[in-house]
Symmetry: C2
């Protein structure tokens, strides 16, 4: 129901609860209150790229790949499909009286933390390193999942993790992120603010860490002054799982559960993932929290349950059920999104694959690995199309496909009687017209604390290098002499400088979802003309990075990095060529309207991601490099000219001072409009032009 | 080349070696002797069901499934395909100068140990519990792999593990099998003797254990008196890997490597898998072994290398290469063999699946598990068709396929935030017209010492029960009420009494190879009319079994078991019905010719495994129950009568006395000819008739 009515109903219902009943509803495993007709409810649901951890669902590409599409329209379609499946599963479970974890409507996604350092293990859960791209993708996702029915919100979206949370994983429970006010507002808070303003997400999740000593789940400054007062957030706050206990166990800010719970609730954290809020009973007895505070928190929580229609006889989604889960249409969408997420980083002309090719050697530890399709926080699809599967399913019948693994994803100390296919890989490479070298990482090598195998680093990467086993195999394959198309499957940037030089083509495929293999072959074959763009910088070496635990933005991400990247943010090749002409900018009060003309000067239909970068020339508070302020993905047929407009809100152009305050930029603003970053000269296609203009606000 | 010439060439070549060079050639990693033009050679290759551990190959069903086909002709085709791939890989590797483990021509298969107890973890590597079936399948396999070219043996087959080797895995290195002479000859030696006589395998592998205190790799009694003198074996003996060190490390028969090596070589073990024979230098210095003995051993080894054509300029298989590996024809053969290996144990009429079925719920931990396809000692296919894949690939487009796992293969202690699909399984079962419950084990739960996860039992099963997690899921599914077709994927018998009662059908699929999912659906849909038969007894309970480490055959396997099995050896249903008539037996000197008439009295083409069981009525040395003495798999069209003959050699009918000597049975012999064991009354199809006759030899 509508917010006002839901608020009223929540107030009435909560008024009938005892204090103990109220407190019980603030745990993620909220028990039933049968005398009031309230069923049990578990608030915990995951849906970064499809319904997660709840069995059957369509698994879309991992968020870093969704971001690489730079396609807000398709992103919204993905979120609509995901939320249809989520509602369907809720209907099925609740009608069977099942109200366990991952069977509800309150979803703890998207993860909009800034992927500030490529070593962060969970970076692939995010939309990359740029606040504006993150904000735009998040708005599309939240819009899609929360639905457009004014009478009933479809799902609750939860922006996480508030705020400045991006590793290290190994010490996340006790970590204090030291963040300048400028970095906080210019980078870490930016997408939260943008998305709260544009998409009104129902919830925000507080992070494990503290920021300048302020605990993210228990700070009035962060949750009241900034989140609610400055950013205008009107929903509820949930703690990350176990984060309330971190206050006493790791941050040593409080003495125990009663004190931690009281501090969190008093600071504005209404819901506890975990069991720390069991300490609220004692906290109340100790006078640390008032019943009024508890009541207000529980009212917020029940308001959202009313808004979601949990107590309504009918909602617009009651007809959804398992026949709407993992449907052919959703699979097709997953394939399309995966194809658009793929970034071609190098192409010496070998792509798209020639019809003359009669044999393909598919080699590498990720060639036939099902796990890399799914990323993390994933559901379980009923179809898993690996790279090998994709080649076999789609290649012509007269093409011989050879497969061997060649090496493990990392060097393993295995007995000599175990299978070793290194030599076979070289022989098959020799026989084939082309090698698809399927390398990269997997979601266990880069992942969440406790979830990843590389326990030394607690889930984070220790280096940007491709693992030794794979480098060794690649170098041996190079010596064979057959052209190599490298398909890198990873959720983050790798520094594969040598591989880039010696490959005929490089295809960055992320963790591409259940239909990944088909999508990759769509790009290889040219059935889909690639249009993905990097949402993160690919650096040349570990040496390019500041210390991982240093939260200063200086030297990080394309906006601040002063070196020469291997591949820059926003970069990605097409099989078509695009030519920009006749840029004009119209000042429309609160926004600027960019009139843009792009011609597809090739004989192949294609898609271009038009990117607008801005650099405020006369403002000392401006970030070092031009920053993304607008983009649009457009389809342009061969030989055709696209004329269109992109609107850029002036607020997007504002710069942030040392106090974190934003202001109209001083001096003239230089705009670059093209298919890439303006400073990406070294790797920009020579025939992709960029148009420029300057104005003052 | 031919044996005589090879023997001569070997003698000449070995004569040029120093003593040290000779000794070096008795290790499985034999180094090159460049001055004599001898390349390095690693003797270790595995090929239980296709080229193993060597990268790309076609993976056929695990041997227990091959045996369940009761199809010697198809078995030979499988062995021919496997040996084509093996030769192809040898050609590719050796022409690239690569001579590592799993790149040669000397294969350490088949495993013809008797699967005397269903708890043995490696039982699925064998052809089951019956000596005659084992012998027949082994002959077909060895014939197929060794080839029919008199000038050049295609591969070396190695019968293993000589002898009386079948667990326990956990203590195999120091285990003494206490075996009566009668059991030794009647059961444990039988298939070795049969196969050596019929197929002349190039090699025999000695087992880890001792037999009545005699070490299998270092006993003159076993290796000379029995193997060579009695059984007529003319090839070479290789030790199981590390088995020579077991002599001093675990059996405590010798003091160290020199003594163990000397004892083994002096007893007739020419080749050492491992490095114990490095001790031969010291053994020679100590006077424990003579140069003449060493020379004779090395001559045997080089004779086989010459026979394999390793030193020839040309062999009949030189044209084979990777284009003969994992071919469509081999995949088709793998699918056909898998379909014929599948045993339908129960069918209330639900199979084959009706065209009216519009939705199928594929549920269970083995439904979409790639690992269970491959068994152990497997290669790496380029296609893996799970049960789920098979249903999706072959089912009509208008049929909705639901999938969820429902439970893990064993009960795991997992955090509550991990995916749990138990409830989803029940909901999907409710929605579907039929449930395919895909249960069973996997090759990690039943496997080899060190290879399996259930380390408590060292790879063996501790119980015949289906794991609790799966039983619990099944019972919940039963309550839903949708008909359940249980597909049990395991390499051995399980005691799933309750599941059998409550399932509409039971399909035993073994570890069905890379094409398993297609083959299973072939049987479910009726595209293939099932004809597989159990090569092992399915008991009702653990209580039916003697102690696992007791090697007495009393009470074990269908020949000695006095209880009522759940499903007997030889059992398996068809969608057709067969009627036996007009049996007559013709005495032909050394053999009996059975004239048999079988009518397919159904309206569906089918295959029948005609089985001949014999019981010598007046001989006190006879095994307790009628034993298999002949079988033949025949295709019979609907309504047609098959007339044909099966020859049974009289020696097959001989009985074994307490001293292990065999003799012509006294009294009359009663023969039962039919589709099942004669005493399998309780589960025999009422309409499958059996014909009987009696003769004296």
């Amino acid at each position: 129901m509508k917010p006002e009515q839901a608020k009223k109903r929540a107030k009435e219902l909560v008024a009938q609860m005892t204090l103990g009943e109220k407190m019980s509803q603030m745990l993620n495993e909220a028990p039933a209150i049968e005398r009031l007709g309230i069923p049990a409810y578990n608030w915990w649901n995951e849906g970064l790229h499809g319904v997660g951890r709840s069995g059957l669902s369509t698994v879309f590409p991992q968020p870093i790949g969704l971001a690489a599409s730079f396609d807000t329209e398709l992103m919204k379609q993905v979120a609509v499909a995901f939320s249809d499946e989520a509602r369907a599963k809720y209907n099925e479970f609740s009608s069977h009286g099942s109200r366990d974890c991952y069977q509800g409507l309150t979803y703890w996604c998207p993860n909009i933390n800034i992927f500030r350092d490529p070593r962060w293990g969970r970076g692939h859960e995010t939309y990359g390193e740029d606040p504006f791209l993150t904000g735009e993708m998040a708005v599309a996702f939240v819009d899609g999942m929360q639905g457009d029915q004014k009478e009933c919100r479809k799902l609750d979206a939860t922006l996480k993790h508030f705020v400045a949370h991006s590793g290290p994983e190994g010490c996340r429970h006790g970590f204090d992120a030291k963040v300048s006010k400028k970095d906080l507002y210019e980078t870490y808070l930016w997408a939260f603010a943008y998305c709260i303003q544009k998409a009104k997400p129902a919830a925000v999740m507080g992070a494990y860490n503290t920021v300048n000593g302020e605990p993210c789940c228990a700070s009035k400054h962060l949750l009241q002054d900034i989140l609610r007062d400055e950013l205008g957030f009107e929903g509820y706050v949930v703690s990350d799982c176990g984060a309330i206990c971190d206050l006493h166990d790791f941050h040593h800010i409080t003495e125990g559960k009663p004190q931690s719970s009281a501090l969190a609730v008093n600071s504005g954290c209404e819901l506890n993932c975990g069991d720390a809020y069991q300490g609220l009973v004692v906290a109340y007895e100790m006078g640390l929290v008032t019943e009024d505070t508890i009541t207000k928190a529980v009212e917020r929580l029940f308001q959202t349950r009313f808004e979601l229609g949990m107590f309504d006889e009918k909602t617009p989604w009651d007809s959804l059920g398992y026949d709407d889960v993992a449907t052919p249409a959703h699979k097709q969408l997953a394939r399309e999104m995966a194809a658009r997420s793929i970034v071609v980083l190098k192409n010496n002309g070998i792509l798209p694959l020639s019809k003359e090719i009669k044999s393909i050697a598919v080699i590498g530890p990720n060639a036939n690995n099902r796990d890399v399709l799914l990323g993390n926080y994933n559901g379980t699809p009923d179809q898993w199309i690996t790279v090998l599967d994709g080649v076999q399913r789609n290649v012509g019948k007269d093409v011989r496909v050879y497969y061997t693994k060649g090496c493990d994803v990392v060097t393993k100390d295995v007995p000599k009687w175990e299978e070793n296919t290194f030599q076979e890989a070289l022989i098959l490479a020799e026989k084939a017209d082309v090698v698809l070298f399927c390398c990269g990482l997997n979601p266990r090598l880069e992942g969440e604390e406790g979830d990843a195998f590389n326990s030394d680093a607690g889930g984070d990467k220790t280096t940007l290098d491709l693992p030794d086993s794979q480098k060794k195999l690649f170098q041996a394959l190079v010596k064979v002499g057959t052209p190599i198309i490298t398909i890198n499957i990873s959720g983050s940037a790798l520094a594969f400088h040598e591989i880039a030089e010696q490959s005929a083509a490089i295809v960055q495929a992320w963790y591409p979802g259940e239909q990944g293999g088909d999508a990759i072959f769509d790009v290889l074959s040219g059935a889909v003309n690639p249009s993905g763009r990097l949402p993160v910088t690919f650096y040349r070496s570990d040496d390019d990075l500041p210390a991982f635990d240093d939260y200063h933005m200086k030297g990080r991400t394309y906006r601040y990095f002063q070196g020469d990247p291997l591949y820059p943010f926003g970069y990605g090749l097409s099989y078509s060529r695009f030519c920009y002409q006749n840029l004009s900018i119209e000042n429309q009060g609160d926004s600027l309207l960019f009139h843009i003309q792009v011609e597809n000067v090739s004989d192949r239909d294609g898609s271009e991601v038009i990117q607008i970068y801005a650099k405020c020339m006369g403002d000392a508070d401006e970030v070092p490099n031009a920053k993304l302020v607008g983009f649009r993905r457009v389809d342009i047929q061969a030989g055709q000219v696209w004329h269109g407009d992109i609107t850029v809100e002036k607020k997007i152009l504002y710069v942030t001072d040392q106090e974190g305050k934003s202001h109209i930029p001083q001096g003239r603003i230089h705009f670059y409009v093209g298919g890439h970053q303006p400073d990406a000269v070294s790797c920009r296609l020579s025939d992709t032009m960029c148009v420029e203009a300057e104005i003052s606000l």
